[in-house]
């Protein structure tokens, strides 16, 4: 009969070796809030669990080269308590802190959210809008990849056998920049995004948007980088016309399906609504930064 094994290595290399040796049934564990649920429900067969929490680099938040390095196994609650991180990336942090409840926040991580590869993962559109990257460790060594390259299809990642995410890197922040994340769920919490939108903006001294990035979640098999939506904002002061262009472009970029959580038509419309609202919040935040 199938059996469940568990190890907690203390170095990234040990972890990569164990994952490789464990084959298809081996899984990294950061917070376990997806993994354990999937094992218990029988959706995943029991195999080898490689717990990353004992690896020093996988825990904690470090400021490096003006940006932030977040250990893969750092729980949501620690992100929200980090004042500098929250000030620089309010959208990423609000997205990560939306995951689950207080109990779930004590464990759930952004790396797990990313590598679980759910189209509806809350932190991923915000990370993509933020141009975050991952430090990946594997049997062949270390490499860096943009977050949007990790998920390739629902439940599937681009990670090679033995590879895992050790750190998430958020870039240095230029002046007058801010981000925001909004999701639509039928309830007020403990739910799964029907649509999620991350918007990241940089303004000049006059309030003109000089850089923008818009990412859409739950309206395609993986997060959609809506370039046309971002372009609709650049050069504007987020006036009504720019917001209307953003709405149209976000809707055009969305490729949702109809399922038990919402119709394609509804999801498309909400992608536009949330893009406008998230952009408005990000803009107001950016104006307030020094």
């Amino acid at each position: 009969m199938a059996q469940l094994d568990f190890i907690a290595p203390v170095s990234p290399e040990q972890a990569a070796a164990a994952l490789l040796a464990g084959g298809a049934g081996a899984r990294p564990l950061s917070g376990g809030t997806d993994l354990l649920v999937q094992l218990r429900s029988g959706r995943l067969p029991p195999g080898l669990i490689v717990d990353l929490k004992r690896i020093p680099e996988a825990i904690g938040i470090r400021q490096e080269a003006g940006g932030f390095v977040i250990g893969a196994a750092t729980p949501g609650i620690a992100l929200g308590e980090h004042a500098a991180l929250t000030a620089a990336w309010p959208g990423v942090i609000e997205a990560a802190n939306l995951i689950g409840s207080t109990q779930v926040q004590g464990r759930a991580t952004m790396a797990g959210n990313l590598c679980n590869a759910s189209p509806a993962a809350d932190s991923v559109p915000a990370l993509v809008a933020a141009r975050a990257t991952c430090l990946i460790v594997g049997p062949a060594g270390r490499r860096t990849a943009p977050v949007e390259s990790i998920a390739v299809a629902p439940g599937r990642t681009s990670l090679a056998p033995g590879e895992f995410v050790l750190e998430i890197h958020l870039p240095a922040r230029s002046a007058r920049s801010a981000d925001a994340y909004l999701r639509s769920i039928p309830r007020t919490e403990m739910d799964i995004a029907v649509v999620g939108v991350g918007v990241n903006l940089t303004l000049d001294a006059d309030g003109v948007i000089t850089d923008a990035r818009v990412a859409l979640g739950a309206v395609g098999p993986t997060v959609i980088v809506a370039d046309a939506a971002a372009e609709a904002l650049i050069g504007s002061k987020l006036d009504d016309a720019a917001l209307a262009r953003l709405d149209t472009a976000a809707r055009a970029a969305a490729t949702p399906i109809s399922d038990k959580r919402g119709t394609a038509d509804y999801r498309t419309k909400i992608a536009g609504v949330l893009a406008r609202r998230a952009a408005t919040i990000a803009y107001a935040r950016a104006e307030k930064t020094a």
Binding site: M1, E189, M190, I192, V194, T263, D265, Y266, I270
Partner: protein
Amino acid sequence: MSDVLERPASSAPLDDGRLKIVGTRPIRPDGVDKVTGRALYGADLAMPGMLVGKVLRSPHPHARIVSIDTRKARALPGVKAIITGADFPELADEEYEAGESASNLRDLALNVMARDKALYNGHALAAVAATSSAVADEALSLIEVVYEVLPHVVAVEAAMADDAPVLHDKLFTGGLKEKPTKASNIAKRNEIKRGDLAAGFAEADVIFESRYDTAATHQGYIEPHACVASMASDGQCQVWSSSQGQFMIRTYCAKVLDIDASSIRVTPAEIGGGFGGKTTVYLEPLALALSRQSGAPVKMVMTRDEVFRASGPTSASVMTVRLGAKADGTLTAADVELKFQAGAFPGSPVGAASMTALACYDIPNFSIVGYDVVTNTPKVAAYRAPGAPISAFGVESAMDDLALTLGMDPIALREKNAVHDGTKASYGPTFRNIGYAETLEAIRSHPHYSAPLGPNQGRGVAVGFWFNVGGESTAAVNIAEDGTAMVITGNPDIGGSRASMAMMAAEVLGLPIEKVRPIVADTASIGFSMLTGGSRTTFAVGMAVTQAAQKIVEDLKRRAALLMDVSVDQVDWIYGAAVCTDVSKGKADLSLADLAAKSGQTGGPIGSQISLNAQGAGPGFGVHVCDVEVDPETGHVTILRYTAAQDVGKAIHPSYVEGQIQGGVAQGVGWALNEEYVFDTGGVMENAGFLDYRVPVASDLPMIDTVMVEVANPRHPFGAKGVGEVPIVPPLAAVANAVRGAIGKRMTSLPLSPPKIRAAIDAG
């Protein structure tokens, strides 16, 4: 459901303005155990040598079972028993009355374990008992079932169609003038009529008609079904399980397995929510059969997935409502048609939905027709005021539109047509001692009703009715040697009944509440009681408790008279002590403790047991007002404010009455906004879990204000009426009517989920 309501009450309630305990808010006796995690629920019991029982369930919504081969599974080491439908006796096609829900025993047995046909995805086909959960899972995967997959039908109107796949080839529509010759999914047509419908509509100045539909919703209790069962080699059985009635479990196990009731002892576990859904059996007969075969105790616990796929939700429905009224709002006619999904076997609550549909209104001409329709979905089970919230959704939505058409205030329209004492109810009896007018007034004069509303906000009003029941009940009161008391009943405590039982006994005995300990006993330790359901426990079991305590007081007076050497009519019982009314005799008072200490001199242990069939549960009325705000871009509904007024008779423990009202509203709001069974085209439920079956979370609801209107029920010693079910009746319509106010459009299909509302707004 209608008993002695028509007859005037014989005696006035004990509420003479001098109550010391009834009406106060002591801490509930089961509270500490529940908040510290010590309370033992269905899954908490473990026994030495216990096996794990699991169920093989049909992946198909409708299939003939050609064969079940269990040989490979039996050969697996660690497998101790395997049962299929062949291990159960075939039962007669007979109705069995069990409190709120009558059951056909043959159908009940076939729902517990399929025989020839699987009738829904999730229908039990076989069960195994093994030494571990992993072995049991493996054994299930080794059972080979050959199916002949049949076409299936889920939607109620599709099941009524002539060419629908027929679930039961011996089911002929009941309630028709001529017995049909062709089997049908329509199990029954029922009709309630009064007056001349055509004449009523001819008299009307305004006629309003609409069609409504509601989705199947689950009771959503937190605790999944769970039990441990053990059958010894002499055939004596023990069952520990979580349910709404240990006697119900005993009866059904005895019937399904053909065992003497006295050979089955059922001990109730604490119950983590039932709402009607635990008024039947699913696991207990299987666990007993597995224990019989294996010789070991067997524990069975459903997963949440099994709870959704295989235990009773309530009906999905399609309704039409037509109302006729004079320009001044007087209703002249009402025509209501209700089509209810019963699930795999007959027995939807369409009968109760029909009886309650117009129960708040005095209408000279009406017709209510209901259809009970079988479908390839789990057999429905009782759900809090079964059927009433559904028909109230249709009727109260229509009343709201009628008020709009007439330009009338919605409360005024209801007052104009309200039933009163002496009105002959739409379902038959004549109302007495009802507090409906007072409840309407409580909302009309409430500050909520006239508070201003902002943009995109709306206010909705709806009313609701429930019969409440009494029924067979037993209670015992025993006095300990130190003069403290035990109150023993046979009803699981779902909504704080231990507290109310102890309070009523303490009031009569004159003891402080801390000196009275209530327990819920097993089936061998107390006489029979119907299950906890129908809002009956505080009323009916409370009556038995009160009478048992009163009997003890009579006995204590006799004993005191003996000890004081006076005649019994010279002894009074005042606040916990026997007092000699003839002061000249100079007798010292004798407290309960004094009398208990000397019980050996006065006839032995002090105790009494009362068994009765309580009649005259006063019906309950609720009037709710709800404010919502709708986000016009996303279609999200936020409940801003909610006030529920209800005639409760007399609140024995006001906090638990308020809790019942708030809980009913919370469930009703979930039903209105997001809860629904979603089936794929293959007849498989797509959202069998709490992630996608959305009950409200705490942050979805405001604090729900309650107004308790106390119009005493003279048939209860303290004036109590049932309170647990009424509050789920109005919310579906109250929310929908508020949404109507906010978006200016009528939503006729539940749930009012954001995509539907946005689509309605877009449709212009």
